[in-house]
């Protein structure tokens, strides 16, 4: 049997089997938490039970009937959508300026935009808490949206900048030399090409906000708190399968958002 040179997945069956076996174990490790909550949530008993003795929807019913879960979910949803809108609209402007502009100080601005990823979240959360107590923004939708927008910015701007770098600058120059104003060129040429990146960024911004705990931990009030904050309290005080039901819904939402991402990308590529 002749073997092609340099095929880097080991050709000796033993080593190849070992590599795949190892990878399988790691994939199981990675996927296990996302999958395990599903059977737990459909169990009948109050304890974590696997496999469940009998199936029931009582934990889902519990979730939908309890005001504190429902209102926290609605808050998180509203905040997430607003964060996606605000961070993507401001982020697109900033990304366009940073990618196409050649002004001094760009490195500093880039560093500032990336910094919320680098600074440990607990520090950001405490600093925002201190500011919000002074401004009276604790427990307000506006406070949540602004705080989450800050931490979504780095991701949003990285994604949209990458899209912009892939768009040939001569296209907009051509439009302008054919008589379009810069604004028209932006609206008719650049914007349609940027749209896929903006959709991706919006979906990620929503997920980041929807999962954010540390800022919520500090700025939530008894009257207004988000789903992660409610989950955090739940995990620490009442380990019951209602949390598994919420978790299952969250995993489903994550998969849906990622699938939406894939579908939007296929859609945009087909239109091109």
């Amino acid at each position: 049997m002749s073997r092609p040179l340099g095929t880097q997945v080991p050709r000796t069956p033993l080593r190849r089997i070992l590599l795949y076996a190892f990878a399988t174990l790691v994939f199981i490790y990675l996927m296990l938490p996302s999958l395990i909550v599903i059977p737990i949530s459909f169990g009948e008993s109050t304890y974590l039970e696997l496999p469940p003795q009998s199936l029931s929807l009582r934990w889902y019913q519990d979730y939908f009937e309890r005001q504190e879960w429902v209102s926290a979910t609605i808050t998180s949803g509203v905040v997430g959508v607003l964060v996606a809108v605000v961070s993507v609209s401001l982020g697109s402007l900033a990304a366009y300026g940073l990618v196409r502009g050649r002004f001094p100080g760009k490195t500093v601005l880039n560093a500032l935009i990336i910094s919320p990823i680098i600074v440990p979240m607990i520090i950001t959360a405490v600093a925002i808490y201190k500011l919000y107590s002074a401004l009276g923004l604790l427990g307000t939708i506006l406070g949540f949206v602004l705080g989450h927008t800050i931490i979504a910015f780095p991701f949003v701007i990285i994604i949209i900048s990458a899209t912009l770098r892939g768009i040939d600058e001569t296209l907009e120059q051509a439009a302008m030399s054919l008589g379009a104003s810069r604004l028209t060129a932006l609206r008719r040429v650049v914007f349609p090409l940027m749209l896929p990146g903006m959709v991706t960024a919006a979906l990620f911004a929503f997920l980041i906000s929807f999962d954010e705990l540390l800022i919520a931990l500090f700025i939530s009030t008894p009257t207004l708190s988000t789903l992660p904050k409610r989950l955090w309290e739940g995990i620490r005080t009442e380990i019951n399968p209602t949390i598994a039901a919420v978790s299952t819904i969250l995993v489903l939402l994550t998969v849906l958002v990622l699938a939406g991402l894939l579908i939007s990308r296929v859609y945009f590529e087909r239109r091109r």
Partner: protein, 301 residues
């Protein structure tokens, strides 16, 4: 003869000046576009950080007491050691699990890779809280893992995996492994396969060509991945708080506790400055290897 030349240069100069002004005006438009985002970041991020940090030195008047306390208190020394130790072993664990996986992903067909990537990306985007809760159900005393091992007759009494070191490692490695995989994969996918063909064509065994050619070329990815994972691990809060025991207290948990329980803002600020400086140090070394754009961009396109 000299006359027209001077005239030409004067008009040329005027021309340049005009061009220069046009360019400045255009560039200032670009700058203005970034302004809303920058203003938001300065007022809601930079300013509150700085004002929080100043509390470590002015509480309310000039004092170094908080830094002295952080440096000399025996209890705090233990917290720093814990934080470093947990971050270090988490990094090593991620490397051990992540390197072979990145290797596999870099050396299979695009079609297979696209089938396997969701298995990393779905957990990567799953809420940290959901994952911590799930781990409690898996590794607890009555968790799936212990029940399965007992049923199989492999162990007689349940293993203690939760609310201790192993629990923290299981949760933290799970969170940080995708970062390690993406960092190493980004470098590995750029290693030309022809180099290995050359090594083997010259008579090297596959193992030797891996050790002498492939592995050294993948080291920048290993370095970047380790630095990134380590600097992210230093600031962890949620996972050690939910899966660790009293001995697994990390720096960020002390910061939270100092604020919400002890109301000791000055000391919390001093600890935050120390945590940030260390994190930033590791991040800057990481940045010499690789940029965030590459990490996240490599995943996108």
């Amino acid at each position: 003869m000299a006359q027209p030349k001077v005239l030409a240069s004067v008009s040329e100069r005027a021309n340049y000046r005009e061009l220069f002004l046009v360019r400045i005006r255009e560039q200032s438009y670009f700058f203005l576009l970034t302004l809303p985002a920058i203003v938001l970041l300065v007022f809601l991020f930079l300013y509150p950080l700085v004002s929080f940090f100043t509390r470590s030195l002015f509480d309310p008047s000039w004092t170094t007491e908080h830094y002295v306390q952080a440096a000399t208190g025996a209890a705090w020394g233990k917290i720093f050691r814990n934080t470093f130790e947990i971050s270090l072993f988490t990094t090593l664990g991620c490397l051990f699990l992540g390197y072979p996986l990145a290797y596999l992903l870099a050396n299979i067909s695009n079609r297979r890779r696209n089938l396997l990537l969701p298995l990393i990306i779905i957990p990567f985007w799953t809420s940290v809280l959901v994952r911590a809760y799930a781990w409690i159900g898996v590794i607890g005393r009555q968790g799936v893992f212990n029940v399965a091992l007992t049923d199989l007759g492999l162990i007689s009494s349940p293993l203690a995996l939760l609310y201790n070191r192993p629990g923290v490692y299981i949760g933290m490695i799970h969170y940080l492994l995708p970062f390690m995989i993406f960092a190493i994969f980004a470098v590995m996918s750029g290693i030309p396969k022809t180099l290995l063909q050359a090594a083997e064509g010259l008579g090297a065994s596959p193992l030797r060509s891996f050790l002498r050619v492939y592995f050294p070329l993948s080291l920048p990815g290993v370095g970047a991945g380790c630095l990134l994972v380590f600097s992210l691990a230093l600031g962890f809060f949620i996972t050690p708080a939910l899966l660790g025991g009293p001995k697994e207290v990390m720096l960020s948990m002390i910061i939270e506790q100092q604020i919400s329980q002890a109301l000791n803002w000055g000391f919390a600020a001093a600890l935050s400055v120390i945590l940030l400086v260390i994190t930033l140090g590791f991040y800057l070394i990481y940045n010499r290897f690789m940029s965030f754009e590459r990490l996240y961009g490599g995943e996108k396109r």
